[in-house]
């Protein structure tokens, strides 16, 4: 019996975007990173229909985190007080393709640092590494609105990815990202309609849809990953059927979420294997699982999980 032809021809595709600006483009990055562009679901169709290689953004925090588990502290202890060195270590030793500066330290409940601090951190990291940056606020709307515009300005023209904007807080960051030539992250709580709505709000302000990356609250393996998984699959399918409001590449926050899991943190768990192995593997599994649904940028933390996931990506997106 001859094989039937697969006629699943999709009309749409995921937007392809290039982050980072090199000297020729008015920035100081030594390389750019292109993501997106999928014309089919993951492993669907032919190799040519696949997205650009998904990339890993490693987290660098603006102040020393106080609640990180030992496995992570061990990996970064010597650089945790210096975001510049921290970023350098991620890029040079662990192969980070992007650095995500997570401004936890500006949160009023954490270190309540001011805009000067955040600007200094941004400048430091820009100087110490050549990869494109992601600039991620503290999720305190008021404080983010004070600080993130300054951060944006400090990286003006570098074509960073900056976020996040949400349904209730999007105006100031959208305006400043537009002015400074950055890309935006739009956030939704595992909800396609809200994600669309946020994209529409930004677009109504004149922000180009082609410069948005979507972020759906990530669930870790064992803690709701199936919801994130299905949302990402549905988003990919929407993009492929031509929905322009859903044609953005996707970013997920695997590092933060998976290191909250009991399996990654619980020291004494007979029969589960050593804690030193469990944490990194929980993070790696969460990342690989979401890659199957269709994500383009993964935020990660542990060097060993990064190595496993990069190795996987290199095999399948070569």
């Amino acid at each position: 019996m001859p094989l039937p032809e697969i006629t699943d021809s999709f009309t749409g595709s995921v937007n392809r975007i290039t982050l980072g600006a090199t000297k020729e483009n008015g920035g100081t990055r030594t390389n750019t990173v292109t993501i997106g562009g999928a014309r089919n679901v993951v492993y669907g169709g032919s190799f040519e229909d696949a997205s650009e290689k998904p990339v890993i953004a490693m987290d660098v925090l603006d102040t020393r985190p106080r609640d990180w588990p030992d496995a992570l502290v061990q990996a970064y202890d010597d650089v945790m007080d210096s975001p510049g060195d921290w970023a350098k270590k991620c890029v040079e030793e662990f192969g980070a393709e992007l650095i995500c500066i997570k401004f936890d330290g500006i949160h009023p409940d954490k270190d309540d640092k001011d805009a000067d601090h955040a600007v200094k951190v941004t400048e430091e990291v820009l100087k110490s590494v050549g990869v494109p940056l992601i600039l991620w606020g503290s999720r305190n709307d008021e404080k983010d609105n004070q600080v993130m515009p300054k951060v944006s300005g400090a990286a003006k023209g570098e074509k960073c990815l900056i976020g996040t904007i949400s349904e209730i807080n999007y105006k100031s960051l959208t305006a400043i990202a537009m002015a400074d030539g950055h890309y935006l992250i739009s956030e939704a709580p595992i909800d396609i309609n809200i994600a669309k709505q946020v994209n529409i709000l930004a677009s109504d302000m004149g922000f180009p849809l082609e410069r948005i990356v979507t972020f759906q609250a990530t669930g870790a393996l064992g803690y709701g990953i199936e919801y994130a998984y299905s949302i990402q699959e549905r988003q990919r399918l929407a993009a492929l059927t031509g929905d322009k409001m859903m044609a953005m590449p996707a970013i997920c926050d695997v590092g933060y979420e998976s290191w909250r899991a009991k399996e990654a943190k619980l020291e004494d768990a007979p029969g589960w294997g050593s804690i030193a192995d469990r944490g990194p593997m929980w993070e790696a599994t969460t990342a690989v699982c979401l890659l199957q649904a269709g994500v383009d940028i993964i935020r990660m933390r542990h060097p060993r999980s990064v190595a496993v996931v990069k190795n996987f990506i290199n095999k399948v997106w070569s």
């Binding site: 019996m1 492993y43 709701g224 909250r260 690989v288 996987f312």
Partner: protein, 444 residues
């Protein structure tokens, strides 16, 4: 592939005798196509029509069963490519290899380690469900001996893997009462392997290097009377294999292509860490059975959890048991808060309460697995359900104070809840992530 009403009509007697209760054969055909009628309701339908109709209504992917008793496993019968479309039916089966080259001692140890790869998550048992004996030695005697040792040492469902029909014949006789899955039949040895499978009534793995070769192979195998087939691709790269499994899924489900309408099995190799990554990819993208070499619990636990998550029914939210959960070691002065039994909601609250390092009680109210806002608007979370749960699980005797922290999203129910319980109601934050700060501020 399902037939249309007109296609079915052509197969009916066309006498309009009304014995089926429908006015005409055409009306009956339409009802059949929409599954509103059963073929048996027409007494005059021919045997030929029966056969054609039942073939057309057979599931697009066959169900394959192996193993016996409590350890029987079932794979296949999937109906969709994306879990949100309906659900994935049979959770991927995870298995671990045993080489027949191991000496008796090492083999015994390995079998024991594999048996112990069982875990419990949120009250559900998950674990390795099959043990795969590999004929690395090429010797029929050693393969048979290994089969005996596994049969002796483990109740798990057995898979026998060799390309040599001689070796297969020797081993399968030792374990055929356990109904092993056997393989692999290749274009070269298909006849001999199919014969062994038929004689011993075992399902058979078909292995080929391309989808084209594989579909020819399954036609050959089913032609010789073996219907229970599991597919595997012997491609060069992992990438090829993953794309091919996706094509098989689409061809069988969307195109109704029978020669590929079977479940699949993947054999994953590499370092322990790499096996986890590849294993998870195979679990998500369409391998009904995934066989690994690693016996590290840290590697198996995340893979098994991935199976559990990806194969849950998206229509039925995962729930936690409604009761009072102690976080840390709370005492009679510890805070009490409630949330719903939607697992995602509960685990988010739990992890943020843990992060606060303030020992607490979380009262989980049965809201049929819905989140706080959904439960509230569906009237599953109201002053009565909360008060009932407080009583039922005896929170009054666990704390001295009478203060209840409620989710910020349902601040509106404070008044009624206070009346219903006589407890002081404290409105917590809307976002769980603010719980640590909230608890530190209000509970000192």
């Amino acid at each position: 592939m399902a037939l249309t009403g007109l296609e079915i009509f052509k197969l009916l007697p066309k006498t309009n005798c009304k014995k089926c209760g429908k006015p005409t054969c055409l009306a009956f055909a339409m009802a059949l196509a929409q599954k509103r009628a059963k073929l048996e309701e027409c007494p005059d339908v021919s045997d030929e029509a029966k056969e054609k109709l039942s073939a057309a209504s057979a599931p697009p992917m066959r169900k394959v069963i192996f193993g016996t008793g409590d350890h029987q496993v079932q794979v296949g019968q999937e109906t969709v490519c994306f879990r949100h479309e309906e659900k994935f039916h049979n959770p991927a089966v995870l298995g671990v290899t045993v080489s027949d080259k191991l000496d008796a001692e090492a083999m015994k140890k390995r079998i024991e380690s594999i048996n112990s790869l069982q875990f419990e998550r949120i009250g559900i048992k998950i674990g390795v469900r099959t043990i795969t004996i590999v004929n690395d030695s090429g010797s029929p005697e050693l393969f048979a001996k290994a089969a005996e040792a596994v049969k002796e040492g483990s109740d798990l469902a057995i898979i026998l893997v060799t390309d040599l029909p001689d070796a297969m014949a020797a081993a399968v006789t030792k374990v055929k009462d356990r109904i092993p899955l056997i393989g692999c039949a290749t274009p070269k040895n298909a006849e001999a392997m199919a014969k062994i499978a038929a004689e011993n009534k075992c399902p058979l793995i078909a292995k080929a290097e391309s989808i084209e070769a594989l579909s020819e192979l399954t036609e050959k195998i089913s032609g010789s009377g073996v219907e229970d087939i599991v597919l595997t691709i012997d491609g060069e790269s992992v990438k090829d294999k993953l794309y091919n499994y996706s094509r098989i899924r689409v061809l069988s489900l969307k195109k109704g292509f029978r020669p590929l309408g079977y479940p699949t099995i993947s054999f994953v190799t590499g370092s322990d860490d790499d096996q986890v990554a590849l294993g998870v990819s195979c679990i998500c993208k369409y391998s009904g059975i995934v066989i690994v070499d690693t016996i590290e619990p840290y590697a198996l636990l995340p893979m098994l959890t991935a199976v559990m998550n990806i194969f849950t029914d998206p229509q039925k939210p995962v729930q936690v048991e409604p009761k009072i959960y102690s976080i840390g070691e709370p005492d009679e002065n510890s805070p009490v808060m409630f949330t719903t039994n939607f697992s995602l909601t509960y685990y988010t609250v739990e992890s943020d309460v843990e992060a606060s390092r303030i020992p607490s009680y979380i009262l989980v109210v049965d809201t049929e697995g819905t989140s706080v806002l959904t439960a509230y608007s569906g009237d599953k979370l109201n002053e009565k359900t909360v008060a009932d749960a407080m009583k039922k699980y005896g929170i009054e005797s666990m704390v001295k104070h009478r203060k209840l922290i409620i989710p910020g999203y349902v601040a509106v129910m404070s008044g009624k809840l206070e009346e219903a319980t006589n407890w002081e109601i404290m409105v917590g934050p809307r976002e769980c992530s603010m719980l640590p700060k909230y608890l530190k501020e209000v509970w000192n």
